[in-house]
């Protein structure tokens, strides 16, 4: 679900071939699930159709993909909006948030701002669940507890990531 935005982010860094995009995606975001070539080109075709990227002229050489894709102003704006929005606070958000943090650092932006946005969204959700607990039945309390502990685990990850931002920035921009 975040593949198109991730590719837009990689293209904001510099115009790239599909092959380069797959290599960078797999190395940072797809370690346990590499992106199939077919999905890269299908996504680029959709982004191109929607005016988010433009393909350059085909370059001479071997291989199926010799076009270099560049992000358009519209694509840049969409990526920027996606980057700044907090992810819906629920378990298993780390993959998307991790992508946002890495892309922000790659592009020389403050990832701390995005982590703070997410932290605020998480705490807001935790406040709502705490209110549910205070007014609810024992069943409500148990269900809210489950949500609260998962959200807290996310927040611990956010705190640890915030503490590691300088070294992470060095790793993704080297």
């Amino acid at each position: 679900m975040s593949v198109p935005f991730t590719l837009l982010g990689l293209l904001e860094r510099e115009p790239s071939h599909g092959y380069d995009l797959k290599r960078d995606y797999d190395s940072y975001f797809g370690r346990s699930k590499p992106l199939p070539f077919g999905q890269v080109y299908a996504t680029l075709a959709r982004l191109s159709r929607d005016g988010k990227v433009v393909p350059g002229e085909a370059e001479p050489g071997d291989g199926p993909d010799r076009k270099r894709y560049a992000i358009t102003p519209e694509g840049r704006e969409e990526f920027e909006t996606w980057l700044g929005e907090p992810v819906e606070p629920e378990p298993h958000l780390q993959t998307i948030l991790f992508s946002k943090v890495v892309l922000a650092l790659m592009l020389g932006r403050s990832a701390e701002k995005y982590l703070d946005t997410q932290r605020a969204a998480h705490l807001q959700r935790m406040r709502s669940l705490t209110e549910v607990k205070r007014a609810g039945s024992l069943i409500d309390v148990l269900l809210a507890d489950h949500g609260l502990f998962h959200l807290e685990a996310d927040l611990r990850w956010i705190d640890m990531t915030a503490a590691r931002l300088p070294s992470l920035a060095a790793a993704v921009t080297s």
């Binding site: 907090p86 705490l123 935790m126 406040r127």
Partner: protein, 240 residues
């Protein structure tokens, strides 16, 4: 006095206490480097942040325990950082309540004498102070423990006694520094529930220093202290 609107409520509430550009250092080590925060009357504010970020120092400056090296602390618009030590001591005794991580009960006194202490220091007669103190044992679910000494109390019981001591004099502001930090999750939740209920019932403003998100979730709002500066997370918040 400045007036702000609470996001979830249309009633205007006044700023009760403010830190304005506050700096404090421990020798060569800066703890606060220009911290700003405003807390509204009746608000429960969570102050979060990593260890060593300056959050406890901020609480101590707001509570008049430490005097900032630079900047101002204002209570209802009046500067308290320029008061004498005696004046600040009176303010802490009559206007503020405190709860710390480890309760810090006086071991030689019984639980009810610990709770009565702020009233005794304010000049109330002993018998009256003990009567007032005992009301809080029922209110906080620790009836029957009045005559025990701190060594005979569990961590959760001791922290409830400490909470009663912090609230018995009906302070305008309760300063709570990691009030559940030494407790397990369940006991910590009981203490927070009591703290928040008592504060809401009495309209007490609470400044709550914590590194635990589940504790911060009891607050109306949270700020993060980072490298001696205050960041308001709610500036970035969106509705969820």
């Amino acid at each position: 006095m400045s007036v702000e609107l609470v996001a979830s409520d249309v009633r205007p509430t006044a700023t009760l206490i403010q830190a304005i550009d506050v700096a404090y250092d421990f020798g060569e080590t800066p703890a606060l480097r220009g911290a700003n925060v405003s807390i509204r009357e009746g608000e429960i504010l969570a102050v979060m942040g990593p260890s060593g970020s300056g959050k406890s120092t901020l609480l101590h400056c707001l509570a008049g325990i430490l005097v900032p090296k630079r900047g101002e602390i204002r209570l209802s618009g009046q500067r308290i950082d320029t008061m004498s030590e005696d004046e600040r001591s009176t303010l802490r005794r009559d206007t503020f309540g405190f709860v710390f991580q480890f309760g810090q009960l006086v071991p030689e006194l019984t639980a009810e004498e610990n709770v009565a202490l702020p009233l005794l220091l304010s000049g109330m007669r002993r018998n009256d102070a003990i009567v007032h103190a005992r009301e809080w044992f029922e209110r906080l679910g620790i009836g029957g423990l009045e005559r025990r000494r701190s060594g005979e109390l569990s961590g959760g019981q001791a922290q409830r006694v400490a909470l009663a001591r912090g609230l018995v004099a009906r302070p305008k502001i309760l300063f709570a520094d990691e009030p559940t930090g030494s407790l397990d999750s369940f006991t910590g939740e009981v203490v927070m529930e009591l703290l928040v209920t008592a504060a809401r019932d009495d309209g007490t403003t609470v400044v709550l220093v914590t590194h635990e998100p589940r504790v911060a979730a009891y607050a109306d709002r949270e700020v993060v202290v980072r490298d001696g500066l205050v960041t308001s997370l709610n500036d970035h918040a969106t509705s969820t």
